[in-house]
Symmetry: C2
Subunit: 324 residues, 2 copies
Amino acid sequence: MRVLITGGAGFIGKKLAARLLERRKLLERELTHLTLFDVGHAEGVPADPSLHIATGDITRPGVLFDLLRPGYDAIFHLAAVVSGAAEADVDLGYAVNLDGTRHLLDAVRAFGGKPRLVFASSVAVFGGDMPDVIADDTHLTPQTSYGTQKAVGELLVADHHRKGFVDGRSFRLPTIVVRPGKPNRAASTWASSIFREPLAGQEAVCPVADTTAMYILSPRRVVDALVHGMELPSEALGMTRSLTLPGRTYSVAEMVAALERVAGKAVTARIRWEPDAPIRKIVAGWPQRFSTPRAEKLGFAADEDLDGIVHQHIDDELGGRFVR
Amino acid sequence: MRVLITGGAGFIGKKLAARLLERRKLLERELTHLTLFDVGHAEGVPADPSLHIATGDITRPGVLFDLLRPGYDAIFHLAAVVSGAAEADVDLGYAVNLDGTRHLLDAVRAFGGKPRLVFASSVAVFGGDMPDVIADDTHLTPQTSYGTQKAVGELLVADHHRKGFVDGRSFRLPTIVVRPGKPNRAASTWASSIFREPLAGQEAVCPVADTTAMYILSPRRVVDALVHGMELPSEALGMTRSLTLPGRTYSVAEMVAALERVAGKAVTARIRWEPDAPIRKIVAGWPQRFSTPRAEKLGFAADEDLDGIVHQHIDDELGGRFVR
């Protein structure tokens, strides 16, 4: 079983790689080869004879053709520039997020073999004039270039699936909390910062009101979903190849309360409330509540509670300890 | 007022050009320059000092940059390969229908001026697991590459509108009946043939059952809609830049009955009923019934009846006479 992860140097790519190397199996076959592809070298991944690191520019078709030529049985397509970057640099966003996906699908088609493909889409495909609760059949009206490019990717995956070039499926990821690492250019970056920085003894800035609600999923559950989504029989998804992953909606106040329950008041005192009008405006345009019966029926699951999400971050990223 | 029509050698492009030259005004400004762009030379268009014919390959970005460099105030983007061709030749369909739209929007962005843009989308963006009646907010689940490419075009137009590069709006065209000319590679080509060929004294083949229903609009009404859609104030469309044009759903039996009422039994006797399983299967997957309150509120209108559609064809294409 040969597996490719694009965006393999990103935090989800690396966590997914670690999970696959731990399982040693995918689709009931032995994992013999796992390639992590990204624009930069994947750092901090376990040394493993079946693990291969590849670097290259996804915006260049030749790079993808070279990458795909050896053939893969399963592809996780996670590579993307994040929302803030895609919004600021229109050319870069379209080149990586749209053309990159085109190149990948063109290469898959060129070399045949009909691999399975999991495309990481995003709840950013929703926006604008939305119902109060986003349902499985709500139409896609993205209000960011990133959301537009993810919506286009879903359409391309579905068309290439229908034509028999790939066994494709697209899963819309909620905002991932707690994302490890540093703040990035996503307008949602504070949703992880308010947990991550205080637990590390640093100050975090929260630019939104504590009544702001976010639809979130933890890193472990995202990796669960990607693997589960890859292993779902194709028929389970039928003609509609996209679905929104189950998450849970919490207010910022609930997030801070969970952090306080787990880590104490000294930790939450490190959150500085500093309203930022442009960020509030972007976040206010995001969908907050979802109904995902289709995904739940197919065995996808949200985190059970916020406290568990805080504990998961402390266990997985901080070696079980935090700065009190 | 400088106006560009891509796909200007196609039958809608030419009818739209004739209408604009007749009106001499668009958006309350005098029409001074009208360019018809297509891969082939537009034939049979009125000689007019303000009319310019341009040819070129829309799949090559440089061609679109050269075309757009002089600047346009209003662009009708009709250029596309039809459904049958896009399905048979995956590369051609994506190159013309997706990359062509990208190149046009890139060129618009490069040269600024924020022109108005009307994108001709299609009801082929719907398909698969659909509700019985397609509503204004039904999600797009195309089951053809053509429908996929049109859905992607809508997303691109909406994103470029939101970013302020263009004042964009996308209108989903019903099947156009009666299309003049010869049968083409569209799986719906029979819907025009069953009127057009018998009225011209020729035999037509109907590959579907007479209970088959189609959602249709006449050429005149399509041109009305494109002009009306161009002239709608931007605010009228709000955040959702796409809408389905109102049409009417008729069964093949109703179409044949109308042809008989207008032209007589000798004409309808020229329809040969010859079931074609692959075409029936494609057509069975198409949406048949639509509810379009948003477009109706904005002043778009369907044809009043089928008899009028038959008369329109006889008047506009046959000089008022048909072969009895």
